[in-house]
């Protein structure tokens, strides 16, 4: 009972976070909402989980949870990796622009030069 209550609270918390964060990172939020919703259901109906597991050829409900957890974790990490790369690209553009702006101040072009020769 206590475990079920604690897990339910955790699942509800995760569900809440997933809903709140849905705009910021849709892929991760969706995964979170799905997983926590399912988790919430199965905490209270463990036999249903085992039944489903048997249908797909897995011995125990907990084994099924483990396999699904692994698959979902991998997908979430892949999504995060892609996001990280995009962030890196944006950071690079900002740093480059800053660097070039500063350099234009440090190395102003001579006013009387028309073709860059000095």
């Amino acid at each position: 009972m206590i475990i079920s209550a604690v897990l339910s609270l955790l699942m509800l918390g995760a569900l809440g976070i997933g809903i709140v964060a849905r705009r910021r990172s849709p892929a991760v939020a969706t995964a979170l909402v799905l997983v926590s919703a399912l988790g919430l259901v199965f905490v209270w109906t463990p036999d249903a989980l085992t039944h489903i597991a048997n249908r797909v050829g897995v011995g125990r409900g907990t084994d099924l949870v483990l396999y699904l957890w692994t698959a979902i974790s991998f997908l979430v990490m892949a999504a995060l990796a892609v996001q990280l790369r995009h962030l890196h690209a944006k950071l690079t553009e900002v740093v480059r622009r800053l660097a070039l702006m500063q350099a234009r101040q440090d190395h102003p072009l001579p006013f009387d030069s028309t073709d860059g020769r000095s």
């Binding site: 990796a81 350099a103 073709d115």
Partner: protein, 250 residues
């Protein structure tokens, strides 16, 4: 689809005609781009050496924690400073942007640790102008290698095979920091790989672009200083990973 390219295999020693053969126009329209990270110790001497051949030099200080920028400025280079370290690829692209904004007709890339000889760069530029190339790539295997460790040689040969197979070009060297690129080439290329995979990216962009590319011999001086900073087998794995990730997220 791979662009047309020619690999000029030449058994020369890298010594070529002097400034007269290139013409002052080409020299004044040429900018040397040197990415640098914590090279405060060698960079002043290196830049001074380079400026004897090419007066227009931009050093991109990639977030160094030492006095790289000050030393480069003292040697007479333009200095562009990245406030944080992004990687050699990013530093090169920043340098390209600077050089183009200053009207460069040709950009020469050189390492900041003294591995490259600016005379080789001049010879390569002369060759590119003569042959009508858009890009000239330095090849240590056409030239000389002083003090190259055997393990490094094997790693490079393996990487070279990988590059030739994946790009369709028949080059003789890989990840050589000495290159000459025309304004036309720079307008077609944009380096997106911030870190060491940029060297592979440049070659594959060239292969896909239809630009005319050739090679020339260059000498690489391996010193204890430069070896300590060079590519390791683990670095190679990292590069492959970066290239794969780029392909997947396209």
């Amino acid at each position: 689809m791979h662009g047309e390219s020619e690999s000029q295999i030449d058994s020369g020693t890298g010594v070529d005609a002097g400034i007269g053969a290139i013409g002052l126009d080409a020299i004044s329209g040429a900018w040397v781009v040197m990415p640098a990270f914590n090279e405060g110790q060698p960079i002043r001497a290196v830049v001074e050496q380079v400026r004897l051949v090419f007066p227009r030099v931009v050093v991109v200080d990639d977030g160094s924690s030492d006095d790289t920028a000050a030393q480069a400025r003292a040697a007479g280079a333009d200095v562009v400073v990245h406030p944080v370290n992004l990687g050699q690829g990013a530093a090169l692209q920043t340098g390209f942007d600077w050089a183009l904004s200053r009207g460069a007709e040709w950009v020469i890339t050189l390492d900041s640790d003294g591995q490259h000889d600016p005379a080789d760069a001049r010879a390569l530029l002369a060759r590119a102008l003569r042959q009508g190339w858009d890009v000239g790539l330095g090849s240590r295997f056409l030239g000389q290698t002083e003090g190259m460790p055997t393990s490094r040689r094997w790693l490079l040969k393996a990487a070279l095979q990988f590059q030739n197979v994946t790009t369709g070009l028949r080059l003789t060297d890989v990840h050589n920091g000495l290159r000459v690129l025309s304004r036309r080439a720079l307008q077609r290329l944009r380096i997106r790989q911030n870190r060491m995979a940029h060297a592979s990216e440049i070659v594959s962009l060239i292969a896909d672009s239809g630009l005319k590319v050739g090679e020339g011999p260059v000498t690489i001086r391996y010193t204890a200083y430069s070896l300590a900073k060079g590519q390791s087998a683990l670095g190679a794995v990292h590069i492959l990973f970066d290239l794969l990730m780029a392909r997947l997220s396209r």
